[in-house]
């Protein structure tokens, strides 16, 4: 399976887009935080009214999704999507579990419909008038590699551009005690079939090739990520942050192959060219 990468979005502690994340991955500005960065982004794609009502995780995901289209003529409405998050909106999960534990479990109807795992997918398709397939997936600690697999398969079987968005927000007590996600992170990658005629690929983005193999893999160590404490923490504790292994390679033009774990006896072999 092969596709062209056409755009990347990113948002997390100390960076608000691919450009500022790339600087960190290239070793610059490691200790100077990006001061322009608000805690919760306000994606331009959402109207002010919708933005006020939308949960933080929706805005985090949609900010990076929007960024991924910045350098291409491909439109979101012509693009299928795969949204991946291991825990979804854990703030609303916390709210619902606390509320239903009381004697009068009156839930907010808006919070309830916003609590579905595919809420960001829903907000995205509404905001972009996208009528195509929109998937919302979870795979716990391998959410990144499984979402990459699903996006690659969708792109090569359906022969259509695919937006992949990965995001996880910090967990609260009690779940944080044993699923220690401490910082929010989101990233998005827009891919298109290599044969797509109108998909003019900015020449600094590589082509991605992937296949599954029936062997075990461990998450690789990323040299530059390991140098930066906050990136290292995201990489090792936030399931969406595992995408940093691919983003570091793209940033460094390091095109050697890598294996990412999928199941307990299968892995995703990726290479860039």
């Amino acid at each position: 399976m092969q596709c062209n990468i056409l755009g990347i979005g990113a948002y997390g502690p100390g960076f608000s887009n691919w450009e500022t994340l790339k600087k960190r991955l290239d070793g610059a500005l490691i200790s100077s935080p990006d001061k322009r960065r608000p805690d919760i982004p306000r994606p331009a794609i959402l109207s002010p009214i919708v933005s006020r009502r939308a949960p933080g995780i929706v805005k985090l995901a949609l900010e990076t999704a929007t960024q991924a289209f910045d350098e291409t003529t491909i439109l979101p409405r012509d693009t299928a999507c795969v949204f991946g998050s291991s825990m979804g909106d854990s703030e609303l999960l916390d709210y619902m579990c606390r509320t239903v534990a009381t004697m009068t479990p009156a839930l907010s109807p808006t919070k309830f419909h916003n609590s579905v795992h595919n809420a960001p997918t829903g907000y995205w398709t509404i905001a972009t008038d996208c009528h195509h397939s929109a998937n919302s997936i979870a795979a716990y600690d391998v959410t990144t590699s499984i979402a990459l697999l699903e996006a690659l398969v969708m792109c090569s079987v359906e022969r259509r551009p695919v937006l992949m968005v990965l995001y996880d927000i910090a967990l609260q007590v009690p779940l944080h005690d044993f699923i220690p996600i401490s910082e929010p992170f989101a990233a998005a990658i827009l891919i298109a079939p290599v044969s797509e005629p109108e998909a003019e690929q900015p020449n600094y983005y590589p082509t991605l090739t992937g296949e599954t193999i029936a062997t075990v893999a461990e998450w690789p160590r990323c040299a530059m990520v390991a140098e930066c404490e906050s990136l290292n923490s995201i990489y090792n504790t936030n399931p969406a942050g595992r995408i940093l292994v691919l983003l570091e390679k793209i940033s460094h033009h390091d095109y050697g192959p890598m294996s990412l774990p999928l199941g307990t006896g299968s892995s995703l072999l990726l290479s860039l060219s």
Binding site: V100, S108, N118, T125, S136, I137, S156, A214
Partner: protein, 394 residues
Amino acid sequence: MIDVRVRAYTLACAAGIGLKSVRQALRTRTTGLRRNTFTHSSLQTWIGRVPAIEQFKLGDLDSKWHSRNNILAAIGLGQDNFRSNVLQALSEFGSGRVSVVIGSSTAGIEQTERGYKTAEKDGTFLPEFWQSNVHHYHAPALFIADYLGVKGPAITISTACSSSAKAFATAYRWLSANITDAVVVGGVDTLCLTTLHGFDSLQLISPEPCRPFDRCRNGINIGEAAGYALLVRKRFASDRSVRLRGCGESSDAYHMSHPHSDGRGAQDAMKAALKSAELEPKHMDYINLHGTASRINDSIEAKAVADIFPKTSRASSTKGWTGHTLGAAGVVEAIIAIDTIHHGMIPGTLNLEEPDRELAFPIQQENSEMSAENVMSSSFGFGGNNCCLIFSRR
């Protein structure tokens, strides 16, 4: 187009545990719905509960995996020789070439609710609830892969009420891309306080047994279910095996919890499924509708169907037997539709007593004894997420 076959399938829901008992319930028009005794609140409704969950034990796996959802997942895997069929596939293809694709909207949340309810004063869980494999969305696929010994990719799809229909679409693509040789596809969703009170907050819950497409329909009943199919490429299946012939997915791009008033998203999914199956609307012998018994959704679905299919097509909702099993609804109704091909009985719509004359499409009330060649199943979820599946005899 790749030819994907259903090598084995099974179902556990309120209407019955295993295909034999589900068939019996459908044939005798016996509902699985009962008065709500699940919530310890004054919520007046009926539910599609699977009481066997409370007697079933996970044994050695219990401390790591205990949850209502995982127990129902295990009960389902134990029916109709499904587990032994998967074990055979594991030895045939190798465990790394078998995959798990599961749809679920609530996953382990019922266990998370219990953790919160019994938490210490400072909010921390009691030790028995420190289950890092249970309190997240991927819990069902992870458990099923572990329980069966599947070592290929495992994914959980969570798109609300279209989750396990979309699981078939993903599995179909995975087999097309040749990244796997066999896929355990399905869905598991269980009763929990969040969905019961959540749908109640949206005023979508009926205080009575649900009546899909009835003039007096007044809301849904929530149910729980586990259903599975083992999908392989044609050359690895018997001649009798039903074909997953087409999948169609779409987005409404309209509203988070209301369908498009013209049913455009639903139509897009049905048309996409017909196109991928290379079939005409007139070829469809049976349509298992989403038919939740919500006033608005049923009438929009009837309109969407009427715009595409001839009025002679048989269409019904089976939620009067099972309740609305949310993330599992897609697989429950796919299995019921598949079974009409093998067993010569097309279910009508239980509890539909007085058809709503305002509806744009005639809904089948009574069961009919006939065998189907091509069947469709539709599922629509919050976020405007739609999926239709088509199965054929050949």
